[in-house]
């Protein structure tokens, strides 16, 4: 069982939310945004519209296309931002590999959320830059 403080404490330990004060963390820790998925359940579905942005608080998830696992996501990782920001359906499934505990920012709220929390936006941007760099290095 968790309470409001536990979600705030969990967020505080993540790089994505580093440097945020208590009031800002309390605002982000919306109880309606807390999600749990049993192992094996899909969180994002390839080709399905209307998904959101997820931050993993605990557990592991796999990025999959059909049966192929492309990568593994863990506490502090996030996903769903590309499809949400571009208004496109995800190009891969995200599947819970263990009981998965997440914070979901609903799709329509993401832009407002990032503008309201510029430090979080900067961290998202840095991660996207690293992912791009990795992808380019792999190609090269």
């Amino acid at each position: 069982m968790s309470n409001g403080d536990e979600i705030v404490n969990s967020l505080r330990g993540l790089a994505l939310f580093s440097g945020l004060g208590q009031p800002e963390l309390e605002q982000i820790a919306d109880p309606e945004w807390e999600r749990r998925f049993p192992a094996g359940e899909r969180v994002l579905r390839r080709g399905l519209s209307g998904s959101g942005f997820y931050v993993i608080l605990d557990g592991e998830a796999a990025v999959r296309i059909d049966e192929n696992e492309l990568s593994r996501l863990r506490r502090g990782d996030f996903f769903g931002e590309v499809s949400t920001l571009l208004g496109a359906a995800p190009t891969a499934d995200i599947v819970a590999e263990s009981p998965l505990h997440c914070l979901e920012v609903p799709g329509p709220d993401l832009e407002k959320f990032l503008l309201a929390h510029p430090r979080v936006m900067l961290e998202v941007l840095k991660t996207e830059a690293r992912r791009l760099q990795d992808a380019l290095a792999w190609r090269g």
Partner: protein, 485 residues
């Protein structure tokens, strides 16, 4: 009244035990009864109604029952217009709440709602053992569940917990233990005459208080960290104080994290930090009320693996409202919101409200009967030549699809048999070639049909255009759906 004084369902062995006699428990019991599933309903209360025996404290509900509609009042379609009655298969049992409505207001009072639920239980012959409190739970080696109660032990293969989300919950703010919760606020509004009232919270219960106190309090301030979500977390029924705030009428609505509440002589001192608009705030109030929500009284179910969401207040559930697949621990009523569904475009289910969870309970009962008791629930069949018109009619008028957007879907299997199922479950399990349709809504508030076609193991999503009158039976929809199928 059914069950009162008779004390049916003595302790013993039953296939299923239902805990609770609010709308969730009554709907679950009704649905199990109509499947022929023997079960015992127990309740700690002494009469039906659950939370509606007590809340909302200022008596007016937020959901409607309409008396005049374009469809017959004993039809399934009428459920669209009546968000408060429990659902029945027999036409004569539909729309029970009509008997409790006057034409003074389209929304019933708390007392009317309580009366409607009692009438449903009586007219449909539901048997509830009142005054029987569930105290603890254990699982036996053979997998059965044992519920210990004040009357003795109940052993069952599956249990349905319809406990309500009704236990007062306070957010962890220093000093908040000094102030009453919403549930303890004075029902006599005279007590707030001329006072400065500070309400912690900005959801329905907070706004219900504010709405009820506008004629009494000299000043009302509502505060919580997140902005008001108009028409989602606060329904139109209670928006008067919000309009007051936006038009500058004196009521104040703040986005602020409350640092502490201090009792001072004759009142309270509140220290808060603005969130949407940063800045320190210090306020004085004569009364502070914590309208910070409720929690599900799960007792010892955590020991049996029940996890939670929403700050520990709601059980985390599978798409069929079970604590985990095969656990036999099901939930009905308000707590069925613990199965979040797809939440496409951020649109949540209507599961916290009667008009949403009454359908969950029916689907859950069928699932429970089939997976835990081997009872095959009856299904209607759609003739091949009528598939397109059937699906478009469902998309236009099926109350399940409209109450539970992108949450419950109408599925037609290859055999022509048809089901109402949780869309998330249907999408994720292996299935033969078939079709599912759901009513969906996007961020712009547009409502449109979604068609999911399963073929060769894969599912493709097809979103049809919105229609201004929400009638999807026209030629263009027929053409498009025929093409897809």
């Amino acid at each position: 009244m059914a069950g009162l004084g008779e004390r049916p369902n003595p302790p013993g062995d039953y296939p299923v035990v239902v805990v609770g006699s609010g709308p969730g428990g009554l709907q679950a019991s009704y649905s199990l009864s109509r499947l022929g599933v023997e079960h015992a309903v127990i309740s700690q209360d002494d009469s039906p109604g659950g939370m509606f025996r007590l809340f909302p404290i200022y008596e007016r509900l937020l959901s409607w029952t309409k008396l005049e509609t374009p469809c017959p009042v004993d039809s399934r379609e009428y459920e669209w217009y009546d968000h408060n009655s429990l659902i029945a298969d027999e036409p004569e049992q539909r729309g029970v709440m009509r008997d409790f409505m006057s034409r003074t207001f389209m929304v019933p009072s708390r007392e009317d709602m309580e009366g409607g639920l009692a009438a449903f239980a009586e007219r449909t012959g539901l048997q509830v053992r009142y005054g029987c409190t569930w105290e603890s739970t254990r699982r036996e080696d053979d997998g059965s569940l044992v519920l210990t109660t004040t009357d003795g032990e109940y052993r069952c293969r599956a249990a349905v917990f319809a406990l309500g989300v009704t236990t007062a919950w306070k957010s962890p703010i220093p000093g908040i233990e000094e102030v009453p919760h919403y549930a303890q606020a004075s029902r006599d509004r005279e007590a707030y005459r001329g006072k400065r009232v500070f309400i912690v919270g900005k959801r329905n219960s907070a706004f219900e208080l504010a709405d009820g106190l506008e004629e009494w309090a000299s000043k009302i301030v509502l505060a919580s960290p997140r902005p008001v979500a108009v028409l989602s977390s606060v329904r139109a029924r209670y928006l008067q104080p919000y309009e007051d705030w936006t038009l500058g009428g004196g009521t104040v609505v703040l986005d602020a994290a409350i640092e502490r509440v201090e009792r001072r002589s004759g009142g309270f001192h509140i220290v808060a930090e603005g969130t949407t608009r940063p800045g320190r705030l210090e306020l004085e109030a004569d009364e502070v009320i914590a309208a910070t929500g409720f929690t599900t009284p799960l007792r010892d179910l955590g020991k049996l693996g029940v996890q939670t969401v929403s700050q520990g207040r709601i059980p985390a559930l599978t798409n069929f409202w079970e604590s985990e697949k095969g656990s036999g621990i099901f939930f009905a009523g308000n707590a069925s919101q613990g199965a979040a569904g797809l939440r496409k475009h951020g649109v949540g289910s209507s599961s916290p409200a009667v008009h949403g969870f009454r359908y969950n309970a029916r689907v859950m009962a069928r699932r429970l009967a089939e997976t835990h008791l081997g009872v095959r629930a009856p299904r209607e069949r759609v003739k091949r030549g009528e598939l397109v018109s059937f699906l478009l009619q469902e998309l236009t008028s099926a109350p399940e699809l409209w109450a539970q957007k992108s949450y419950l879907a109408r599925v037609v299997w290859g055999s022509g048999e048809t089901d109402i199922l949780p869309l998330a479950d249907w999408l994720d399990r292996p299935r033969p070639d078939c079709v599912a349709v759901a009513v969906e809504e996007n961020a712009a508030g547009e409502i449109y049909p979604a068609v999911y076609v399963a073929s060769g193991g894969a599912v493709t999503e097809h979103l049809l255009d919105p229609q201004p009158l929400h009638d999807f039976r026209g030629a263009e929809y027929q053409r498009r759906l025929t093409e897809l199928l």
